[in-house]
């Protein structure tokens, strides 16, 4: 029966340790009289002191301010709230302007060359087909070519904000992961 009592006392000593409180008076009295429980008590007391002395890590200031800023931006810009966690989908992602500027720079740099190339193509086509195709048909062909080129360029430049948003979202996800 003594060992059963000791086992119960030890369970309560562990629970007191976990709850950061002193063992009950009855259990303390038992540990004073019982060699086995006194040893367990001393061992747990050493553990309690060691656990109590462990440092409490503080988040570095930059980390805390960065985490707060990102979450606050999400809170301000992502209304209404999402029902499930996931990548940024509402509002403008944090790095959107930078990504858009980069994509615009990449897409606009070759634009003069594209325009010149197409103008040259039209001029060559006009010269080659001038004697073979009636002038109104040639004009219609040239107009169709210009319109299709303009449509492709519109599609390309019109997609840039969406691509920039997606890239900025992906970057956000990588940073916060």
């Amino acid at each position: 029966m003594a060992s059963e009592r000791c086992a119960e006392v030890e369970v309560r000593l562990v629970e007191a340790l976990l709850a950061r409180r002193e063992p009950s008076e009855a259990d303390r009295a038992h540990t004073r009289d019982c060699v086995a429980c006194a040893a367990a008590h001393d061992e747990l007391e050493g553990l309690r002191l060691a656990l109590g002395a462990l440092p409490a890590p503080e988040p570095p200031r930059e980390l805390a301010s960065g985490a707060w800023r990102r979450a606050a931006l999400e809170l301000r810009g992502a209304l209404p709230a999402r029902s499930a966690p996931g990548p940024l989908r509402h509002g403008v992602a944090e790095g959107f302007p930078r990504e858009l500027a980069r994509l615009l720079a990449v897409a606009l740099a070759p634009l003069p060359l594209v325009v010149l190339w197409n103008a040259a193509l039209l001029a060559v086509g006009d010269r080659l087909l001038a004697g073979l195709v009636p002038a109104p048909l040639l004009s219609a062909l040239a107009a169709a070519y210009v319109l299709s080129a303009a449509a492709w360029l519109s599609l390309l430049y019109g997609s840039l904000p969406f691509v920039a948003q997606r890239r900025a979202e992906r970057r956000d996800e990588e940073v916060s992961r």
Binding site: V11, V14, L17, L18, A19, R20, E43, L44, G46, L47, L49, A50, L51, A53, L54, P55, A56, P57, E58, P59, P60, L63, A64, G66, A67, W68, R70, A71, A72, E74, L75, R76, A78, L79, P80, A81, R82, S83, A84, P85, G86, V175, S176, R177
Partner: protein
Amino acid sequence: MDSDEALMRRVQSGETPAFTELFTRYRSRLYGFLVRRVGDSAADDLFQETWLRVVRARERFDPGRRFSTWLFQIANNLCRDSGRRRAAKGRAEDAMREMGCSDPRLRTPALDLRLDVQRRIAELPGRLQEVLLLRYFEQMTETEIAEAVGIPAGTVKSRLHAAIHTLRGRDEADHGE
């Protein structure tokens, strides 16, 4: 002073000051939990991610629940999912750095005991470590831990005792669940 849950209701309405208050209340506790759970470097990323998840999933928060339980549930799930549990040795080295005692000449028996406990906590299997950290350092009840971790309260109790058993240097298998 508003309760955490009242603040969370205001966060659900998009109020940044309420979020700031919650962030201030919990930043140190959350960071401490993450550092003990996954180590310094992974903790930084998970700290940011946890707060982002809080904001993104705020509509799912039930004000009938405790905010702290929900917060640590998110953090613990991220720790489990991250797959970035650092090697225990690495985390023990983090602990030594944190205590400013990488120089063996500065070590004292009390410091060695703390380091030993820190190392043992880092070496605990994840299922024991999570319940121990939530119980001892966060002072959550067994019911709250059960909710946060997603296991029955009885299992929490047995895992807590197994964790203490292991910290005392006994074989975990001796204790069982």
